[in-house]
Amino acid sequence: MSGQSSSLAAPPQREPGPPEAAVIETIALTKRYPGPVTALDGLTVTVEPGITGLVGANGAGKSTLIKILLGLLAPTSGQARVLGGDCVRDGERIRGLTGYMPEHDCLPPDVTATEFVTHLGRMSGLPPTAAKERAAESLRHVGLYEERYRQIGTYSTGMKQRVKLAQALVGDPRLLLLDEPTVGLDPAGRTSMLELIARVGAEFGISILVASHLLGEIERICDQLVAIDAGRLLRADTITSMTQASEVLLIEVDEGADQLLAELGRRGLEPRPYQRAVLVRLDGDETYDAVRDAVADLGLPLNRLEQRRRRVEELFRDDQPEVSGVR
């Protein structure tokens, strides 16, 4: 039956963004400080729209890169472009299109979140009414409700991080730069901040660059990864290609691993033990069936069956273990 309005319709789709232009581009970007300290050394990388993790750049490299991208620091040599503009020439315009969430504490304690985010909305160039409205909206999107009328000094770490994110969103940025957004949060806080960031990236149509040391969270929410080492590009790739499945199948049983090892060997699969589990080479679909049958025959409690994937962490391991970390 047709009604006048779309009853129970799904929310309208977000309009697709502009064609896939790179969000950030650097070409042989170099920055040297007197010291002599080289923070960035010929960094050439392209960041596509979506959620990108920035990893590895510690200390000088990361903050230098952020300052250059925001047009606050001129490179020693090389070029940087953000959202189509040159960082040195169009710095002001770029800052009007980006939102930045610093790593450190940056909130005054004796102001309410509403006042604070509204004021920063004005500083982003919003007219007074728009600043108030967008501040209220941003605080709602980050999950701050009645708390927003209390002074920031009374907030928990998790709430403070949300205020920082809200002020980055208030100006409707096209690109968000988040510097270690989960630092200081306990596990529950981290999970909700990561979910929030994933939502912002997926639903709000805003590209995000997340600087983080935690590869686990980058694997969880990012589409792409840029890894920097000693000022240079170590690797830039999609997360999918960095976590590709390998041709190894992992089988974990709660007891009887030796029996399983023997039985799989008997079936010609060349199993080898790995910590609590057993690995076999994946030789087509028959391998799955052979494993299933072996486990069923022995009546062993099957706890895990998984095709091993590469992990982002392997990029930073000097040695090359088969797989990393699972105990």
Binding site: P11, P12, L72, P102, L120, R122, A130, G171, F204
Partner: protein, 342 residues
């Protein structure tokens, strides 16, 4: 639905009468007007001006601004009452009540300059300003403009009250014009005061994120230099002794002498006057307040003030004023250029 279907009980609702809507309250892009840098700086200016007066901060923050303003207006009000009772204006426009001004401005600046500047330093909020479409120096510029305005109001409004109180009793156009001509230099002197003192106050406050330290630094600097100037000026005066021959008129009698006693004859009296030396002329350079007064004298001010004349060194006072101003502005610029994004 078949036409023969009998309706029992309540008639069926019309199709389409029950509808529901789910509104999209997801994220919205902003497609409205965006203001340029000039307007952003203006918004920061107003925001800072409000904090200089403690507006939007709760009652406690307004105490000092209100009290200092009230105290500064007091002489103007008293003068207005005196004029109503027929007396002439006693408070000059260009020096006002000098001592009162000094004390009030020290208190206002020491209390409020940290409000504008030290708080942001303490909470490390500056990166959130610099990552926005502003330039580095826009921040101290807006703060300075706001603080100058704040100091200006405290200095000039009492002068205007003084003026209004005086001309309210004036009866002729020429009298009003005379008052106006006297007021204008006073306003200019007030402007100098506001600009220099605000700049020094902010520069000193920007040295520390701790409000107590900033207030202390400002108060100590202004008070000590002021007291020092006062002492120097006093001790560098030279006593000039002049012998004067006094011829008492005939019939004059010495005080206390019985009537009919013989009058005193000619005698020599010693007259002591204080004459400023060169050192005294220069002592005013030590304090911003006396420097301002020296410049006033140099530019032709006539009311007596703490500086006993500039004795030809007027230009030095002018130079000192510029040096203090340049140092303060330079200090502010250096401070905020350095403030990192951490």
């Amino acid at each position: 639905m078949s036409a023969e279907h009998e309706v029992i009980g309540e008639p069926a609702r019309l199709a389409g009468a029950e509808t529901g809507v789910i509104h999209d309250i997801g994220y919205r892009r902003y497609t409205g007007r965006r203001l340029g840098r000039a307007q952003i700086v203006r918004a920061l200016y107003w925001h800072s001006l409000r904090s200089a007066y403690g507006l939007g901060r709760g009652a406690k923050a307004k105490i000092i601004p209100v009290l200092t303003f009230a105290v500064m207006c007091l002489p103007a009000v008293v003068n207005a009452v005196a004029i109503e009772n027929g007396q002439a204006r006693i408070v000059p426009y260009d020096t006002y009540l000098f001592q009162l001004r000094v004390v009030v401005m020290i208190i206002f600046i020491a209390a409020q300059a940290p409000e504008l500047v030290s708080r942001d330093l303490r909470s490390h909020v500056l990166p959130l300003y610099f990552c926005r479409p502003l330039r580095r120096l826009d921040y101290p510029l807006a703060k300075l403009a706001a603080f100058i305005t704040a100091c200006l109001a405290i200095i000039e409004i009492p002068l205007l009250l003084l003026y209004l109180g005086t001309i309210a009793q004036a009866h002729s156009g020429t009298a009003i014009w005379a008052q106006t001509r006297a007021l204008i230099p006073g306003l200019l002197v007030g402007l100098m005061w506001a600009v220099l003192l605000a700049a020094i106050g902010l520069a000193l406050a920007s040295l520390s994120g701790r409000r107590a330290y900033a207030t202390g630094a400002i108060a100590i600097y202004f008070f000590l230099t002021w007291i020092l100037a006062g002492i120097l000026i006093a001790v560098t005066q030279r006593n000039v002794v002049r012998a004067v021959v006094v011829h008492p008129p005939p019939g004059a009698v010495a005080k206390g002498a019985p009537p009919g006693a013989p009058g005193p004859g000619t005698f020599v009296a010693h007259e002591i006057t204080q004459v400023p030396t060169t050192a005294a002329h220069l002592s005013g350079l030590v304090s911003p307040f006396t420097t301002l007064d020296g410049v006033r004298l140099w530019l032709g001010g006539t009311s007596p003030g703490p500086v006993p004349g500039v004795g030809g060194y007027g230009a030095l006072y002018g130079a000192m004023l510029l040096v203090l101003l340049a140092a303060s502005l330079g200090g502010l610029a250096a401070r905020y250029r350095k403030a990192g994004m951490a």
